[in-house]
Assembly symmetry: C2
Homo-oligomer: 333 residues x 2
């Protein structure tokens, strides 16, 4: 089996902890460009494929009917931090379809970002479903249902037309029959469909290159990825890794995190798609690995951009007083 | 090499993420009882050896001079949640030595426990050094320095008498020469000394059994471990894993977490010491593994207690709406 990408966390000259990451990069024609670890085992992509899940929002005509611009489309692909701007954007999307927060079925959670959660608590407020990191995706689901004339209730269920369209889109993107996609329930209650990492990388390569898909799908994918690259804060939040990654090469790189150590990405100018997963599900490993992978992909194409990603892949660990105590580094990429 | 303990995280029938954990359990005479993975590689024990670090507080006479009871001794061994009761205890310890929060050199951080941090933010307050999870340990260091007539300033430095005593105590507990202990800087700015997991397990077995150490050290260790078992909340906090573990068999089991996936433990009635580390540094893996290990140790001695630990080792994963979506389970123990 191919070797994994290894992420080392050091302290005082020793490797304190170690992560193993499987990585697939595929080109527009579907050929392997990078291959580390087991990329053929089905993994749940979680939120890293929100772009795939948002394809029906475009393809159905709902996004155009409700006049969604780059910010709304980016939010529809987001795991956002629940900042005030994200909440307002999600509420606005629902409002255009005549719905409100109560139509959401994603559940509530305090914003993951600790400063955002503390600021919300300090204001005396509590989170509602609009603060859920997936509220933009769910607003997109609801807008599509309304546009299609479907009852919105139960839109998170596997057999609701909303989720049937999502499943069909994912199956086509990863080249796996719908019946062969193992299914789990995601944090926000919708189905999550497992497929090999290589399939997700190949799917993003299709959208990056506009290849191996219908012209309509190529156009929908292009619009979503360009929206995310144009409004990366809407897709993530202040201080988040996805934002930092996309700011290294504005408008040229798409990167999206998923729970349990997943990342997907696309580089349109190179026609490349990327997918990776830290075996142990840790975000710090996935973040270091995706930055190192982008650095590798830009090494010859644009050394300055490659250096920007290299810097992001290498984290300095500091203690509570700010003293440097160790580092996070990618090995083998 | 011996196989690791494996912690699996499942979703929808698939193993979504996987952790590997090295584990050593040693008896009072220093013999292996359980041995999984590489237990001979030096690892940083981080906060899991706060009991070793607090030995000089007892042995110097400082704890008796300042009249510390079980709560203060437990707090001196704590990674506490920064709840109001912890802050008051730490402030009280410093006060008995004529010191205040400003003497601490551990730095500030918001409480790790999200509800505690949000409650603090909602009250309009900000954390000071007393909220640092290590403030009790640092209060113990400062009280020892005052008792010994040493200038407290710089007590976190490797060559301050406080840290020299700690290093000597750890070296003796793990049976490694002081010069052979690789050293890093911990989150709270003091040195952390690496040694094989087997050494830490052996050290806790010495204290569990009162064996292979001087009568004075055996007595100091017994007092600290009994204090932690008597006042487990002071050593941890509401809802924390250490608290839940020690509540399974009150007064019979000691368990202490450390950063980067470490746990140490002791079972006095069986004369056993335990140390483990998740290779990837994740807390969820360490928590599941330590509960499974205690279950194994009590299997014949007390099946009801074993079942309590078995229940703790098996976690149910729920999404934001409370639906069961997967589990965390220990394999091979």
């Amino acid at each position: 089996m191919e070797r994994d990408v290894v992420i080392e966390v050091t302290r005082g000259g020793l490797v304190e902890s170690r992560h193993r990451v499987a990585l697939s990069v595929v080109d527009a024609r579907g050929r392997d460009v990078l291959r580390f670890g087991d990329v053929d085992r089905p993994v749940f992509p979680r939120s890293a494929v929100k772009v795939f899940q948002a394809l029906p929002l475009i393809e159905s005509g709902a996004a155009d009917r409700f006049g969604f611009g780059a910010s709304e489309l980016s939010l529809a692909c987001a795991s956002h931090s629940g900042e005030a701007g994200h909440v307002a954007l999600a509420e606005g999307m629902l409002g255009r379809a005549g719905l409100g927060e109560g139509a959401l079925e994603c559940g509530c959670h305090w914003p993951f970002d600790a400063p955002v959660a503390r600021a919300l608590a300090a204001s005396g407020a509590r989170p509602n479903q609009l603060h859920n990191n997936c509220s933009g995706k769910h607003a997109g689901f609801l807008c599509t249902a309304v546009h299609m004339g479907e009852a919105p209730e139960g839109y998170v269920g596997a057999e609701h037309p909303v989720q049937r369209r999502v499943r069909a889109a994912i199956a086509e993107m990863v080249d796996v029959a719908q019946g062969d996609l193992p299914t789990g329930i995601d944090g926000c209650s919708i189905p999550t469909h497992a497929a090999p990492l290589r399939g997700f990388a190949s799917g993003f390569a299709k959208l990056a290159g506009g290849t191996r898909v219908s012209p309509e799908r190529a156009e929908a994918g292009r619009r979503l990825i360009e929206a995310c690259m144009a409004e990366p804060w809407a897709m993530s939040g202040t201080g988040r890794a996805c934002l930092a990654l996309m700011q290294v090469a504005p408008g040229r790189v798409f990167a999206k995190t998923g729970a349990e150590g997943v990342f997907c990405g696309a580089v349109p100018e190179l026609g490349l798609g990327l997918a990776l997963k830290a075996q142990d599900g840790t975000t710090r490993a996935a973040e270091a690995a995706v930055a190192a992978a982008f650095a590798r992909l830009f090494e010859t194409a644009d050394p300055a951009v490659a250096q920007g990603f290299r810097d992001l892949s290498h984290g300095v660990l500091r203690n509570w007083k700010g003293t440097e105590v160790g580092e996070v580094r990618a090995v083998g990429l």
